[in-house]
Symmetry: C2
Subunit: 343 residues, 2 copies
């Protein structure tokens, strides 16, 4: 039961898809998948079990795709394997984050499957996440680019910082929009940015192109997270890969909440305070439905999606410095696709 919102003066982005992008990096992604499989190997059988539970569950692998795509956009030699190794590293960093997030959020579901922590315990999630981080850094070191290492290790620190920031902001309905944005920049968009930045770095391109690819990833990542946050209140479990309303149950303060609180009555604020700060949620009594109705009343989801469009525009524009090419078109389409998920 998705919220279908008419957005005016926009391209018909519901037709956008990742097909072109996926097609252009198909060869590289085969090598990335083989690399991922070989690097989760361990004599300690629990490691490939836990890692593959998540990795094989078929996320879109958008982040490693972006590394291959920006490397290709910038003319990186397809016969070398630096892009493949960095793409696999990026996916490992992402998977490690998901494993640790599940422990932090006490989630039961992830990518449409039962969370690893439910099946193997919190301990396994923490430790296999650490193992994947270690393997990610090993692969980066093999590539031998200190600049790429700097970008990705900085991203690792920023992501963790963002997660702690979120922890601090959690359960505080007075969180401001700029605080929320700082959190999603760090915890989500930074990895998109780093994944895109290492492409031109590997290809030895000038700083302007490196900055352009980084901007593309950063803004795409922000748009992506905004849509995720809207979908949590307006989407379906199938489109999310997790339960609708999870953010609500976990007391996460996302933009739809921030906007609703800001625009709400004293009575509504008391509702948000009870549900999100004190965690006193009665779903049988319709609390999630009340939350969604309140958001509709304040156009909180529409405005969240409008902001996603804004960041999507920034992402698209940052690619202006590159000459037209099938890869540039595919990257532009990926922005539409990320936003169209909300329709």
């Amino acid at each position: 039961m998705g919220v279908v919102l008419p957005i005016q003066d926009r391209p018909a982005d519901s037709e956008a898809s990742l097909t072109d992008l996926v097609g252009l990096v198909a060869g590289g992604m085969e090598r990335v998948n083989a690399m991922i499989l070989s690097r989760t190997g361990s004599d300690v059988t629990m490691i490939p079990e836990v890692a593959n539970h998540l990795i094989a569950s078929g996320g879109k692998r958008l982040r490693p795709i972006l590394t291959l795509a920006t490397a290709q956009l910038c003319g990186y030699d397809a016969n070398r394997d630096g892009d493949v190794k960095l793409a696999a590293s990026v996916e490992f960093m992402h998977t490690a984050t998901l494993l640790h997030d599940d422990v932090v959020d006490e989630s039961d579901m992830r990518r449409g499957r039962v969370a690893a922590r439910i099946k193997w315990g919190n301990q396994a999630s923490v430790l296999v996440g650490d193992f994947l981080l270690g393997q990610a850094f090993k692969m980066m070191v093999e590539v031998g680019s200190l600049r790429a290492l700097d970008i990705l290790s900085s991203a690792a620190a920023v992501i963790a910082e963002g997660e702690v920031m979120q922890l601090t902001a959690a359960k505080n309905i007075e969180t401001r929009e700029d605080e929320y944005l700082a959190v999603i920049r760090a915890k989500t968009a930074e990895l998109f940015a780093a994944a895109c930045e290492v492409g031109p770095v590997l290809a030895g391109r000038p700083d302007a192109e490196v900055a352009a690819c980084r901007d593309y990833g950063m803004n795409l990542g922000i748009a992506f997270q905004l849509i995720d946050d809207a979908l949590d209140y307006g989407g379906t479990s199938a489109s999310l890969g997790k339960n609708v309303g999870d953010d609500f149950r976990e007391g996460k303060i996302t933009l739809p909440v921030v906007l609703s609180v800001r625009r709400g009555s004293e009575e509504e604020r008391a509702f948000w305070r009870r549900c999100l700060e004190r965690g006193e949620i009665d779903e049988a009594a319709g609390d999630l439905e009340t939350a969604r109705a309140t958001m509709r009343r304040h156009r909180a989801l529409e405005d969240t999606i409008a902001r996603a469009h804004h960041y999507g525009d920034l992402a698209r524009r940052s690619l202006d410095i590159f000459p037209a090419s099938p890869m540039r078109d595919a990257l532009l389409q990926a922005v539409e696709f990320s936003i169209a998920r909300a329709h």
Copy 2:
């Protein structure tokens, strides 16, 4: 109430101390401590709070000391700061491991203080650990030695692998001595080995010296962990920095247990199975005392300590290729000290 064991034909190692080693690296450690302080800084106030709770609680900082010491032993230029940054990285990796371990072990105490996870929650422990790992890699990248990066990132993966191995072996009293050794090699000794290996690498020394320093660290680390495991049943809280009997309560299968099980009667095995596999421990009924008495009967602590002496000997011998120097003497004494903790 430590177990005082007469070990024959051994130097009077109870007099050994870290004083010489600490003195020789005092200048460097001041810079390491300043580096640690500056790199735990973050606008997200929870990060320095959690990090410093553990870091400021005054562990011996043996691992970073070893990095400085081996760099100095190998003639690394004292005016450069590669050793200081790698030493701080090693301490961050260690601190991250402790934070994650506490979540995994559900510990209440660490380094004689309440564990961070009790004070700030499991979430903060997981995420601040991740932040410190990210900062560690950033510092390593700044040093710019790909070989040192390779050593430390490989160590990170091996350590996590060892922790998962321990998780798998946990609560299985049939664990063999070689399996136990594989666990402590990976989860403890690997970081000692890496901390010592990067010293000669930074100094650009030949492979034989790199291997010698690595061997020194590896064997010292094994000896160190064996003594820790013995102290858990025979030491005092003060000498351990955690509660005596913690391993017992957590169902950890350490060498004193492995030896006691192997040498024990069917009735004793039933006791270990009940306490360690099923976790049915009745301390009021004297289960911890029974465990200790059983170990005494089978000389399990003495033999654990005897094995520590064996690895200590290997550690000392690995330094034979270096000419005599105050630093070499200090490193030899550090081995004695690590073992003498059991006396």
